[in-house]
Subunit: 243 residues, 2 copies
DNA sequence: GTCTATACGGTGATAGAC
DNA sequence: GTCTATCACCGTATAGAC
């Protein structure tokens, strides 16, 4: 593999990533990808055989880099629930603020082609214990198991349903990214104001989730001290949650 | 306008609605629409001139029927905050369970064509007071104003930010619809189980929102009695919130 | 007014010769 | 690794039958 060849293939992938996220699979044009990669249509076919295969390569890479680590946080048995929540929300916002078009793109493509993309996703990050027998056993439900246990022990609010909590948590995180247009126009935010909104939203989502989960006195303790010890093996820094 | 004409035009619109929601604008084919309408491509052009114009007609109708009434709930000054939340969440779920592909479709198209669709949306439901001077003045922020006031009066939790509350509320509602594939596969739900999940989720989202908003003792009062008087001028039934 | 037949210019993905 | 060719199909247009 020559240096030239690597460059061309890499340039095509980067251009394709940009174009697919911007226009979606159906709206993307191979000619546009070629133009933005500084090459021609025939090269795309030479390296990737088809639009679908080019898409799959990109999608698998993206899923591995952007989504799998987020899922891993909620399945990490070494973090307790509060740590999982704080780490997940912060990492989610950091990731998506760097790739704001990715969440909507991913959901749209998942809905157009559920089975193929689920298979791709499972290859990267098995969701169920049975999906890939050779893979080191990952519990898909550590977060939910821990929440359920905390509820049973009386640590958390007794009306908390762990699956609904997880869905609410994810929904609160994702919505400002998939509906940026709606939110920004409703509140008349400039682009800068929207960035500030997202920056503040990190801590708001954590508060909201803790309000739902924690008994009021426990929430108040956390709110006053802002000290929940948090391991962040996933990011760069190792830190405590402080404000 | 003959009866025959109405039928053809109506059939085209219904088919187009289905196809656009399923495949998106870019993925939709005029030929497919024609086939599903039981007519031919030329008729689409005859009645609607172009793919874009056909799309706009459908989109405006859908927005008016499905989205505008939801926005109106949060802007109705005759409902207090708790009523707005309960009414909004229930109506949201009822609407989207009947049209499950609509939320993702709408967001995707908004992001592909923000300005044109924002203009269409404003025609139906002015968001800001300045958008349409002749229109009866609608405050875009009744919900948020009421929440802010309640916080100032000490009725609600003092750390509640009304805009983040509104975004969280909407996000919790919308997420299971835009990410159905992900949620359903993560929890291994059958289609029937997913329906049950959504049915239960209505009340869960209300609880989550109230937990975020209300002081613990107020929340507990509501939880125990499940009696917040609620006017539902928007639905069919007039009722109190009971379980 | 309503619908059919035919076709045009443009572009998509892909095959195969070199 | 590059270029030419091809072929299906896209959205759109128009002429004209009923």
């Amino acid at each position: 593999m020559t240096k030239q060849e690597m460059n061309t293939e890499q340039k095509i992938k980067e251009a394709a990533r940009r174009v697919f996220r911007r226009d979606g699979f159906a709206g993307a044009r191979m000619q546009t990808v070629a133009d933005e990669a500084g090459t021609n249509k025939m090269m795309l076919h030479y390296y990737f055989r088809s639009k679908h295969q080019l898409f799959d390569v990109i999608f698998e890479e993206d899923y591995k880099e952007l989504i799998a680590p987020l899922g891993a946080i909620l399945r990490n048995p070494e973090l307790h629930v509060e740590e999982q929540i704080v780490t997940f929300v912060r990492r989610y916002h950091e990731t998506m603020m760097a790739h704001p078009k990715f969440p909507l793109f991913m959901m749209h493509e998942f809905s157009k082609n559920p089975q193929r993309l689920l298979d791709l996703a499972k290859k990267v990050m098995p969701v169920s214990k049975d999906d890939e027998p050779d893979h080191p056993k990952l519990s898909a439900t550590t977060f939910m198991d821990q929440v359920d246990q905390g509820v049973r022990e009386g640590k958390y609010n007794e009306d908390v349903d762990s699956s609904h909590l997880a869905v609410s948590l994810t929904g609160m995180c994702i919505y400002p990214f998939v509906s940026r247009i709606g939110v920004q126009s409703a509140y008349q935010f400039t682009d800068e104001q929207y960035q500030e909104f997202l920056e503040k939203r990190k801590e708001e989502v954590i508060s909201h989730t803790f309000r739902i989960l924690m008994k009021p006195e426990y929430y108040q303790l956390w709110k006053d001290s802002k000290q929940v010890p948090v391991k962040t093996d996933f990011g760069k820094q190792k830190e405590s949650v402080s404000k």
